[in-house]
């Protein structure tokens, strides 16, 4: 029988095992029974842990929840929570790995579009909770000289996400949340790639479809490619007009100047 007094650190790690992976052996010997089995006492905390996190997932993934139903969602959530306990005490951050988890989750394999809907919902969640940041004043860019302008890398607004999906996740998402059964039954959920752009506006979260080339250009800007290089690579559309639109809509908040201009391959030396 374990009777040695645990340090606080040891006891807290044992409580973690009890709550996350349901292993009470490190903690139950230290609990006063008081007429109730320690496991029953620990169950109260275990239930709160599971239900708080399941609720957090349901709030971030409302369309997935409706698509699979409450019982299925709860079962999937319990398995997910055990494998991915939160590493942040701010629950708006919780569940980033859920779309990836769903794509490997055998019982959901028949719903091929589900991970795409989840990926879109995570982007919406990010957009809802991203910090408020002042947009970049385009005059700051205009004030740069030609050599500096060639070295500009833009910093995207934290609410902005670019999501490429293999199924019409945006149409499914909208129809499900609006409970538009006619629209939902009209959607062909089969393979149909879409290039989505998600952003918080003062009026709410906007999800917009883009052409593949416009999406690739925007994605290059968001992942730190130089503006000059991204403009060079843009084909089949008016990249300058799209850039002006991005700036006017406040989708970028700052810029950095690359130390060295890109070489002819576009790589930063």
């Amino acid at each position: 029988m374990e009777t040695a007094t645990p340090s606080l650190l040891e006891l807290q790690r044992a409580m973690r095992e009890s709550l996350v992976v349901h292993d009470d052996h490190g903690v139950s010997a230290h609990v006063v029974p008081g007429g109730i089995d320690p496991a029953e006492r620990l169950d109260i905390y275990r239930n709160t842990f599971a239900s708080v996190l399941t609720t957090a997932l349901r709030l971030s993934y409302p369309a997935v929840h409706r698509l699979v139903g409450a019982e299925f969602f709860e079962g999937a959530a319990r398995i997910f929570i055990e494998a991915h306990p939160p590493t942040s005490a701010c629950l708006d951050d919780y569940g980033e790995e859920f779309p990836g988890f769903l794509s490997d989750f055998e019982p959901a394999a028949s719903l091929a579009y589900l991970p795409d809907v989840a990926a879109l919902e995570w982007a919406v969640n990010r957009a809802l909770h991203a910090p408020d940041v002042e947009p970049l004043d385009p005059l700051r860019l205009a004030a740069l000289g030609e050599p500096e302008r060639a070295r500009v890398c833009l910093v995207p607004h934290p609410s902005l996400s670019l999501v490429r999906v293999d199924h019409p996740a945006d149409l499914i998402w909208r129809a499900v949340l609006e409970e538009d059964h006619a629209a939902l039954s009209a959607i062909d959920p089969g393979a149909d790639s879409a290039w989505l752009f998600v952003q918080r506006l003062p009026t709410g979260v906007e999800i917009r479809r883009m052409s593949e080339s416009a999406w690739s250009f925007t994605s290059a800007l968001c992942t730190g490619r130089s503006l000059a290089n991204a403009l060079d690579e843009a084909r089949d559309f008016d990249a300058s007009a799209l850039l002006a639109d991005h700036l006017a809509a406040g989708r970028f908040v700052d810029f950095n100047l690359m130390q060295h201009p890109p070489d002819h391959t576009g790589n930063i030396p």
């Binding site: 007094t5 645990p6 340090s7 606080l8 650190l9 006891l11 807290q12 790690r13 409580m15 973690r16 709550l19 996350v20 010997a29 230290h30 609990v31 006063v32 008081g34 007429g35 109730i36 320690p38 029953e40 006492r41 620990l42 109260i44 905390y45 709160t48 842990f49 708080v52 996190l53 306990p85 939160p86 590493t87 942040s88 005490a89 701010c90 629950l91 708006d92 809802l128 909770h129 991203a130 910090p131 408020d132 940041v133 934290p158 609410s159 918080r200």
Partner: protein
């Protein structure tokens, strides 16, 4: 609701800020719109810090509400009892919200919720030991230094005790206040729940708390869970009106602490604002009684 706050003869309470000694209401998202549009007659509001950590609609709404009401920020996940220390990223986010809202009060719990880097989504009980006392005090001091203000520390409801505890919880909490200068958020419902669950005497708990340190009182509903063999355990679920026994204990707390800002908390199946205001009015009536009682005592 228009009553003036405490008599100038009463001692200043640690960490009280400018929350009036009146009954406030815990503000949840479902009432945001109503508060902005209809301006209900609540004396003050308290919100959970974690719900306002990003940008977007929620913090913007709180900014607007803050202009019209005193606001208290209540934390549920700083994990003051963590042996591994506080999460610096989380503490920085708390500081950011406190800097933005400039609340009248900031409070947290005598519990832990983080272990091995995982957030365990509940207010978990601490062993009441000298080691834990030292760790809680170290963490409270770190928070107060970071926020550049004192905080209130609240007693949680607990469903288990540890064999190696050596200090009664009420003495532990009083000692945290004495060593760190923090105030105490006395949750009367939690005292009642823990006292029933562990066979403590609630009056002993109240009597051990230094009155001058008590800066706020919480009231909420709890539920009675029946286990097999007719055994029961009380669960602090914040999902109903305040129980009659808790109102009685609240009157005793006011008699001991004097008029203290009091909050009605409700988090599960949040009812219409009118129900919350009814509960707040009951608390306000008891505060008023305590005020006149206290006035007599001072005049005597």
């Amino acid at each position: 609701m228009t009553r003036q706050s405490t008599s100038p003869l009463l001692p200043a309470r640690s960490g009280r800020g400018s929350i009036p000694a009146e009954a406030g209401v815990g503000l949840r998202f479902r009432h945001h719109r109503e508060v902005l549009d209809e301006h209900p007659a609540a004396a003050w509001f308290e919100v959970h810090i974690e719900n306002y950590m990003g940008g977007g609609t929620a913090p913007a709404t709180l900014d607007a509400i803050r202009r019209d009401y005193p606001v208290s920020l209540h934390g549920t996940s700083l994990s003051l009892g963590s042996a591994e220390g506080l999460d610096p990223v989380h503490l920085a986010r708390v500081r950011e919200v406190v800097g933005r809202v400039e609340p009248d009060l900031v409070s947290e719990h005598l519990s832990f919720s983080v272990a091995a880097g995982n957030y365990l989504a509940d207010l978990l009980p601490l062993p009441m030991t000298e080691e834990a006392l030292g760790i809680v005090c170290r963490n409270v001091v770190q928070v107060q230094d970071c926020l550049k203000r004192t905080i209130l520390v609240e007693n949680p409801s607990t469903y288990l005790q540890f064999r190696h505890s050596t200090i009664p919880e009420w003495e532990f909490l009083a000692e945290v206040a004495r060593r760190t200068g923090c105030g105490i958020l006395c949750d009367v419902n939690n005292i009642y729940v823990s006292a029933c669950n562990h066979g403590w005497r609630a009056q002993t708990y109240l009597a051990a708390l230094p009155a001058a340190a008590v800066g706020e009182i919480h009231l909420a509903g709890h539920s009675l869970r029946r286990l097999d063999d007719a055994r029961t355990i009380r669960i602090d679920d914040h999902g109903s009106r305040v129980a009659p026994e808790v109102w009685a204990l609240y009157a005793e707390a006011l008699a001991r602490f004097g008029p203290v800002p009091t909050l009605i908390e409700w988090d599960t199946d949040v009812p219409p604002m009118a129900v919350l205001l009814e509960e707040a009015a009951k608390a306000a009536a008891l505060i008023e009684e305590a005020e006149s009682g206290n006035g007599n005592a001072l005049a005597a």
